[in-house]
Amino acid sequence: MRVKTKLIIVLLSLVVGFNAANVWAKEAQPMAADPEMEKLVNEISEELRCLVCQNQTIADSHAALAVDLKNQVRDMVATGKTQQEIVDYMVQRYGDFVRYRPPVKPTTYLLWIGPFILLIVGVMLLISNLRKRRQVIADAPLSTDESDRLQSLLGADEKTVGGEGKTS
């Protein structure tokens, strides 16, 4: 029984998906005649968030709203609006959320400078830890016995090195 319902759901979703695909297929994407202009349209579209699929820009998204908004951008570019004017137009309607780059203002200060604060705090912690470490592993002077032994070992080494140098 369960398998049957699942199968029905899968089939239904296939049918719905197929119909949706047909709907999309009908709409050819309009393009601005001038490739320069189309480039600008794309550039602006990259800056605007699609509100239906929120992690896509309206340039990426094929949601109906994204297509409409892109057409709106194209129309506005055609009438000679600047990028700033077009972004302002969108923000006026959909809020700051529509911008892929959040604006710098009091409510977003933390968002913008937060990572740098974390970086500074991290570097400060690192430095203080390194300093502490240096104190922990401070030089312990050798006892006389040890330094004598070291001298004899080093001396022996020097001799062999020197001797080899002479023979060669």
Binding site: L51, V52, Q54, A64, D68, L69, Q92, R93, Y94, G95
Partner: protein, 194 residues
């Protein structure tokens, strides 16, 4: 003491992070704060769905508290809220006007015949331009507009029984008490709408 902090600090950081994540889970990411709240409703003049030779403008509604409900026959979630709208219309709670968004008028009329028509009238936004002006990004959306023609609240997604009773109806009652002549304007809200 310092030893205690060494052990407590990660725990404190964990609790803070967990609290933020928990709060984040309860937020609805689809709810984008509307820049139109307490701003004048954008002007439009559109054909009426039931009589395409006549126009309807938001300016016709100055002096009244009303709802503008964005709907379409292709919108599945609209079916969810529709019975509630029909009920509201039957009770005469508040006039509901429809904005038929990016829809074929014949299909829209058929849909209303089938599901009931709660709207005083519906305006035809075939191109979706008025939708863009109102910042519509998901259908259904419902705007609560006051006597001055100012948008006071926006419900994104289908209106539920809870939203209606806790937010929309109390807000409508408050707005109906307002005198549009009084200045300066004081935008009172309702707790349930927060």
């Amino acid at each position: 003491m310092t030893r205690n902090i060494r052990f407590l600090l990660p725990l404190i950081i964990f609790i803070v992070v967990a609290a933020f994540l928990y709060k984040g889970l309860s937020l609805n990411p689809r709810e984008v704060p509307s820049p139109f709240i307490n701003k004048p409703a954008p002007d439009f003049s559109l054909q009426k769905l039931d009589n395409m030779s006549e126009q309807f403008s938001n300016k016709d509604m100055l002096g009244k508290v009303w709802l503008l409900n964005v709907w379409a026959s292709w919108c599945v979630a609209c079916r969810q809220e529709h019975p509630l709208l029909v009920q509201m219309a039957r009770r005469g709670d508040v006039p509901i006007y429809g904005l038929n968004y990016k829809d074929a008028p014949t299909q829209a009329r058929q849909w209303l015949k089938q599901h009931g028509d709660p709207y005083v009238l519906s305006a035809v936004d075939y191109q979706g331009n008025v939708g863009i002006d109102y910042g519509v990004y998901g259908v259904p959306e419902t705007f609560v507009i006051d006597k001055r023609g100012i948008i006071r609240h926006k419900v994104i997604g289908p209106i539920s029984f809870g939203i209606l009773n806790d937010c929309v109806m109390p807000l409508v009652k408050v707005l109906e008490q307002e005198d549009p002549q009084v200045t300066p304007v004081e935008y009172k809200g309702v707790e349930g709408c927060a």
